[in-house]
Amino acid sequence: MAVPTLRCGFSGSRWTFALVDRGCRHRTVATFNWIRGQSSVAQQPLHTAQKPRKGAQEWAAVVGLEIHAQISSNSKLFSGAEVRFAAPPNSLVSFFDASLPGTLPVLNRRCVEAAVMTGLALNCHINQKSLFDRKHYFYADLPAGYQITQQRLPIAVNGNLAYSICVGKQQREITKTVRVKQIQLEQDSGKSLHDDLRSQTLVDLNRAGVGLLEVVLEPDLSCGEEAATVVRELQLILQALGTSQANMAEGQLRVDANVSVHHPGEPLGVRTEVKNLNSIRFLAKAIDYEIQRQISELENGGEILNETRSFDYKLGCTVPMRDKEGKQDYRFMPEPNLPPLLLYDSTSLPAGADPQQVIDIDRIRETLPELPSETRARLVQQYGMLPEHSFTLLNEVGLLEFFQNVIKETRAEPKKVVSWVLNTFLGYLKQQNLAVSESPVPPSALAELLDLLHTRAISSAAAKQVFEELWKSPGKPPAQIVSEKQLGLLQDREALEELCRATLDGHPQVVRDVKGGNPRAINKLIGLVRKATQGRAEPALIKQILEKQLSSPAP
């Protein structure tokens, strides 16, 4: 939906471009990792041109988002047809979805509940009465010639979404808020596949009529990364609620960005709408590119057209979309086949109402699961981890669950677990570009390994070796690896003393160095002993024995 009121409604804090730029730059070392490969965004040299020249005015960017989230439900918004990704073309199409004459929409209760849940999670006001409208345009993948949406009176309005970004050298976490203008229920369209070779368009209606939540954000954002962070947070919320799988690659979450630039204190500039943003990384890139493009355009005396642009991810730039020539008049009209959607709360619920026939907002509120921000706060409080660690745990799909399963099964300190999960485990995953679900090491194996470490059965160094072995030969119990590879901690002090003695004997020069006044040289000896033990002895103990042997006269 176009948001013609974006500008009028704007009254929130504005972040001048220069300020944000500093923020973004500092974030080149951010440890957010909100999505795999995401850090590359921050490493892009952003907005180099808007650093104000002397005497030149600063530019401020204003970014608003319209996010379409496909509702996770078994059937479509107004028909009983199944919803499934990647089914054979036109295999999930009801008569209504194909707009056969005489068919009528029947609202899917699950989709309404999903909208209410999402509205509540985004602190929205839930409208107890909302309406459906028809939005008309001719397109091959829109069989009825109109889309049923909620233009006049949407199901939820006036919410907000808090998100955190880290700024400064200390990675200080600051929390910002973006206002949610409205959430509306609407139908998805089908898909057109253009066969240029035969100049044909093939239409797949599997997606036609799938329920969407359109979340319209007020233009409170000012750069690509802020937008990306907001979308990621929304994605996590939707996933926590189970209202959308919100997988961008599968098109379950689609983002359009409205971008404009202006000089602070002056009226807002003409905005463009950037579409075709199918990953969070491209979203950030496209917005930053578009901001940059608009600034250069204006600084070179050009003007910005109110147009729709598409992000070309290969070229890394936005280009005008050709198929939207001329202004569309959508000729909105109330949908006459759907009565007003009425919701109730505990005060308005009619006495004796059949729970199957009514939706009680308060009951849905009670069933809301823990939201990502609450989860993070709990992790910090419960396990004493750093806030940024809590972000990483949530941002990686499946990592939190993995972490919690390890914690459940191990006696090791939570901090130790955090460190192992975020450094070692995540490091391996990233190196091989795997998702948590694809990990060869299950939580139970890591838990067992951490137990061995905790009981000092193995050294830290040996633990690393065991982990590597676990990764290579999935399914082998850590204890077995320890015994097979003889990685158990060397407990026999006499044997260790023997080894130390032999090392001293074998390296008289180093011994001379130590005795000659270079105490640091002892580290070399420690290293040699550890090597001889294959890392199975504790360095502290080795040091203690060596010092004792060095200080006693040679036999």
């Binding site: 056969l100 004459p101 005489g102 609202l107 000729r331 086949n337």
Partner: protein
């Protein structure tokens, strides 16, 4: 047997005086005989005979499904029917065979009714004459009645067939089908009067139920917020039987009302002294023919003389109604017709240089001028710059019109009594002197306000005009008081004793059919 009412023939079926197959064959023969009326677009002979056979088996086993089992019915060709072409009398849907039954059709079939065929109409039900469909105009059976012919002193139709009358519309095919005894009941649709208008012209009961009482699922829409399936029969009791089958919540139509539906069996009123009949003064318009006016006032006198309270009431916004109807109707038409783009079903042109060119040509070839004109006006009213001035305003006026009725009914009025049409049916050649829009505006004058208010209304034939043509009056009731409305209508029907159409000439031609009548009392004049 064919001249009987549905209720009577249902009794005959139960008593074994006639079998469903016999009945079906007789109707099929008569349909064949009256083909020149152009009442049917499709005659589903084979399916009907199969249904009759199945019905016959049920009767033999004593497992009749009810009053409609074995009864021949017809359905307007804008109701979807599985496996039977559904055209809306438009090139756009020629050859379109729906894969599903409209809920009302399914309900009829589930009760064992025999579907004889799909009846003619104005293209997409846009019209008031049944003259504007691609299959040609429907002829009013009364054109060939003894009553009319005698008055006109004209020769039999074969020699001079140029002065035949229109049926009214848009459900003219259904009206002609019932009027010519080719079936016992027919479904029409009523958006602005499309069931009541042809009923008035064809001397039938034409009933428009309360909006939300009967499912629209499968009815190809004209105006979703006003459309209702209509019922055409030869007597009020028959309408009540059919309504009893059709009424009720349909999970496939969210605008149908929840909750149980009471039986629509009608008590025989003996005392109307507790009734209050409202006569809306705004319905007395200069264009109203003196004959209709006089019958209207006689009807009021009848109620008065039987002890009912008859009072003049005011529906002050009536004069804005037809304009308001025009804006809302065309706007929804523009929207509803958007789906006919040649992609998924129906007509597709040969142009394929671009999708847009294909849309444009398909729609130009598929729709007639009336439909295209309404689409154009509707889109104009829905433009952003016009929406407030036209659509929103019309919606507000619609609310005022609906409130007019509410106020009147709240003031103690039980039913309103009005004319249904300005005058009796006119000859086709006269009718087409005016364009469709002008005709619709004139002909819907007494009927469309009811659709905007969602109320039940029924046409009851009252008497023959001096020309020997039927004139009907309309009763309007409060929303969801359909049974009460029909009860009053039934009492009135019994008082007026409207004459049965005398189609001896036609029937004589069918003598071979009628010769098989098992009952001695066969008569088309059963007063």
């Amino acid at each position: 047997m064919l001249g009987r009412t549905l209720r009577e023939v249902s009794v005959a079926l139960k008593r074994g005086q006639v079998t469903p197959t016999e009945l079906c064959q007789k109707c099929l023969a008569l349909i064949q005989k009256t083909k020149f009326l152009n009442a049917y677009i499709t005659v589903s002979e084979e399916a009907a005979l199969k249904q009759a056979e199945a019905s016959e088996k049920r009767y033999k086993k004593g497992q009749s499904l009810g009053d409609l089992d074995g009864i021949p019915v017809a359905v307007k060709d804008n109701f979807s029917t599985t496996g039977i072409e559904t055209t809306c009398a438009s090139n756009m849907l020629k050859g379109y065979v729906p894969p599903y039954n409209a809920t009302v059709v399914q309900k009829l079939l589930d009760q064992g009714a025999l579907l004889m065929g799909k009846t003619n109409l104005d293209e997409f039900a846009m019209g008031s004459g049944s003259t504007d469909g691609v299959f040609g105009p429907v002829k009013n059976p009364w054109s060939y009645s003894k009553q009319y012919r005698e008055k006109r002193k004209q020769k039999p139709r074969d020699e001079n067939d140029s002065d035949w009358l229109i049926t009214g519309g848009s459900s003219g095919g259904s009206a002609a089908a019932v009027s010519a005894f080719t079936c016992f009941a027919a479904l029409g649709s009523d958006t602005g009067g499309s069931t009541r208008n042809p009923a008035a012209h064809c001397g039938l009961i034409g009933f428009k139920p309360s909006y939300g009482l009967v499912s629209r699922h499968g009815l190809i829409p004209l105006v979703n917020s006003m459309d209702v399936p209509g019922i055409l029969t030869r007597c009020v009791d028959d309408t009540a039987i059919v309504l009893g089958v059709l009424a009720g919540h349909d999970p496939k139509d969210s605008t149908t009302v929840q909750g149980p539906v009471n039986s629509f069996l009608l008590p025989s009123l003996t005392d109307v002294s507790k009734l209050c009949i409202g006569i809306p003064k705004e319905y007395l318009v200069p264009e109203l023919s003196p004959e209709v006016r006089s019958l209207w006032s006689k009807a009021a006198d009848l109620f008065d003389s039987e002890g009912a309270k008859v009072k003049e009431v005011s529906l002050p916004h009536t004069c804005y109604s037809i304009v308001c109807y025009h804006v809302l109707c065309t706007s929804e038409v523009a929207s509803n017709m958007a789906r006919f783009d040649g992609l998924e079903y129906g007509h597709r042109c040969d142009i394929d240089i671009s999708t847009e060119a294909m849309y444009a040509t398909t729609r130009r070839e598929g729709f007639n001028d009336v439909v295209r004109g309404r689409i154009l006006s509707g889109n104009f009213f829905l433009l952003k710059e016009n929406y407030e001035d036209y659509f929103i305003k019309a919606q507000k006026v619609r609310r005022l019109i609906a409130n007019d009725f509410v106020n009147v009914f709240n003031s103690g009025v039980d039913v309103l009594l009005t004319p249904t049409t300005l005058r009796e049916a006119v000859p086709y050649l006269e009718f087409i002197q005016e364009d469709n829009r002008t005709r619709s505006a004139q002909d819907d004058i007494f009927t469309q306000a009811v659709n905007m208010a969602g109320l039940p209304a029924v046409n009851i034939p009252v008497a023959l005009s001096r020309q020997g043509l039927p004139i009907g009056l309309q009763f309007i009731g409060p929303a969801f008081c359909d049974q009460q409305l029909l009860t009053v209508a039934k009492w009135f029907e019994q008082q007026v004793q409207f004459p049965v159409i005398q189609l001896e000439e036609l029937m004589d031609d069918c003598s071979s059919v009628l010769a098989n009548e098992k009952l001695a009392s066969v008569s088309l004049k059963q007063q």
